[in-house]
């Protein structure tokens, strides 16, 4: 089932949580709502579930207006950040809850419920915890139980609100991959909220980047990372260095060095902003051409798959660069050394006239 929201707006007091949001999630897709806290992503998810009411706009499930439907009749699976497991019930009773509260004619028999619960426990690989209470489980286990509980009623869409937000880094990574695999097996239309860009890029088919109640960009992880629609998206999806350029006679300068910006076409601009990701620098001992900037090495962190360098250019701006271990080995630089910094594959620049 597809989910579509049209022109949704929502305010809390004076705070505009959502401002004319439109979005469509196709059947079987796994979409991430990515944004900083306060960007309205959770509010949007709650409106889709019916836990919150929008002032304006529509929510459509497979093209049908869901406004008249109460939460309990929307048939959505909702997974909460803090699990929201029923603390006085065992794991078995938690998962069986949705089946047991069905109206009598639709309610499965006790045997059927038992069978279904154990199927789900098997799916999440936690058959052995059926008789335990939530407080006896780890965070990762609890979140998997919460997912099984949501799936028990066979929802048509799955909504996950920061599902891994309160887990520690290691468990988070495991569960993230597990969610992706799980989605590939079940193909249930899913929308999940996260503020972790790595999580969104790794798991989702498409990413919706939100900020201050608006959508900044919708696209595949590749699109939003490599072709960001604006500076916010670029900034939010990983580290970035900002250069303020002066433009004279159609050429861009940092200090006295003319920088060659590929595709630079704002001849009439006076200033420009250039955004460069850490891996888009080329570091060398000697300038390879005239647009290399002179800089000094301030700090080297070689731990990791990439070597992280903190540099200060001759005009005094600090630069964070990442180079491969091989490049680092060939350069043989240490702290305090002078180097030259070139730019490659720049993805984003803004011009002010």
């Amino acid at each position: 089932m597809s989910i579509e929201v049209k022109n949704i707006s929502k305010t809390f007091g004076n705070f505009k949580a959502l401002d004319n949001i439109s979005l469509k999630v196709e059947t079987g897709e796994l979409v991430a709502l990515l944004g900083p806290s306060g960007s309205g992503k959770t509010t949007l998810l709650r409106i889709i579930a019916g836990l919150e009411q929008a002032e304006e706009g529509q929510v459509l499930f497979s093209g049908q207006d869901a406004r008249e439907k109460k939460t309990k009749d929307r048939n959505v699976g909702f997974v909460f950040q803090h699990y929201a497991l029923f603390r006085h019930m065992t794991v078995f009773d938690n998962i069986a809850f949705g089946l047991r509260v069905k109206p009598r004619p639709e309610r499965p028999s006790a045997d059927q419920i038992k069978k279904k619960v154990f199927e789900l426990l098997k799916l999440i690989q936690l058959e052995w915890v059926a008789n335990r209470y939530p407080w006896q489980l780890s965070g990762g286990q609890r979140q998997r139980i919460a997912l099984a509980r949501a799936l028990a009623v066979e929802p048509r869409v799955l909504l996950l609100d920061e599902p891994f937000g309160s887990l520690d880094a290691q468990v988070r990574k495991e569960l993230r991959q597990w969610l992706r695999k799980f989605h590939d097996d079940l193909h249930i239309t899913s929308l999940f909220v996260t503020h972790d860009q790595e999580e969104a890029l790794e798991v989702a088919d498409r990413v919706v980047v939100m900020n201050k109640g608006k959508i900044e960009q919708i696209g595949t992880p590749d699109q939003v990372y490599h072709n960001p629609a604006n500076a916010f998206v670029l900034n939010f999806l990983g580290n970035v260095n900002l250069f303020h350029l002066r433009v004279e006679d159609g050429k861009a300068y940092v200090g006295d060095t003319a920088i060659e910006v590929p595709g630079f076409k704002a001849e009439n601009a006076k200033t420009a902003s250039l955004y460069v990701r850490p891996h888009q620098f080329e570091i060398s001992r000697q300038p390879k051409n005239k647009s290399f900037l002179k800089a000094t090495v301030k700090f080297i962190n070689p731990a990791g798959s990439m070597v992280k360098l903190d540099l200060v250019t001759e005009v005094g701006s600090s630069v964070q660069a990442e180079i491969t271990q091989e490049e680092f080995g060939a350069l043989r630089i240490s702290r305090g050394d002078p180097v030259f910094v070139g730019l490659k594959n720049i993805t984003y620049s803004e011009y002010e006239i």
Partner: protein, 297 residues
Amino acid sequence: MLTPVKSLSAKTTRSTLGRTESGPVKWVLIAIALVFLAFVLLLPLACVLTTALNKGLAVYFKSIQDPNALSAIRLTLLTALVAVPLNMIFGIAASWAIAKFDFRGKNFLLTLIDLPLSVSPVISGMIFVLIFGAQGLLGPGLIEHGIKVLFAPPAIILATIFVTFPMVARELIPVMKAQGSEEEEAAITLGASGFKTFWLVTLPNIKWGLLYGVILCNARAMGEFGAVSVVSGHIRGQTNTLPLHIEILYNEYHFTAAFAAASLLAMLAIVTLIAKSLVEAGMHRQIQLSQSDNGEK
């Protein structure tokens, strides 16, 4: 690894140091508390029991089985039986509204709930005289239709409800606030109706707090004197509750009978205390559970 060990040892030293140094101080404090307790609580209780029994068990039981005493006991039980369930329902509804929703006038409602605690019970009684009295707001109309409220059980019950209505709500509001509404929301997304959500999710989570509130409410309902005294009319065998019955007996120098009746209320207090501490143990267990629930990641 080093830090926790360090802080642990620091803590142990501090507490042992504290224990050795303040030994005498500690015993003096305990002694003061015990002496105070003996004078203020145990001595009166002993007095009540000895005076009640000083003419023998036969007199004791006779004074309890006196028709007027029995009628007072019946009225007291009836009052509690009506007031406590009503206040339980009201308490759940009010604390649900306050803890789970945001609305205009929420603070005003909170203040209103506390009102009976801050007003003298005599004034609480006077309110009902002003409403239901012969010159009152509703009194003449009701009397015309042959409905007697004031100086009759209805007014006693109403005054008791008024005086005891904060008891349950005040216990439940913090419990419900602490638990938030995520579990209820989860139940609703799983297809549960409002009633099923309340019955299967909310109620089990608040049961200890609710029980605690009900026990306090019951104790207060049975023991209320001031407000009930104003509206009762003191008609012997008809509108006297147990506390009023005791007062009348005492004023007429029937000390043994008065203290025999008083011993019933004292026993109610003891039962309440025991029930309260049992419930507190249950609450403590639940708090520990929910803490390990939050603490562990």
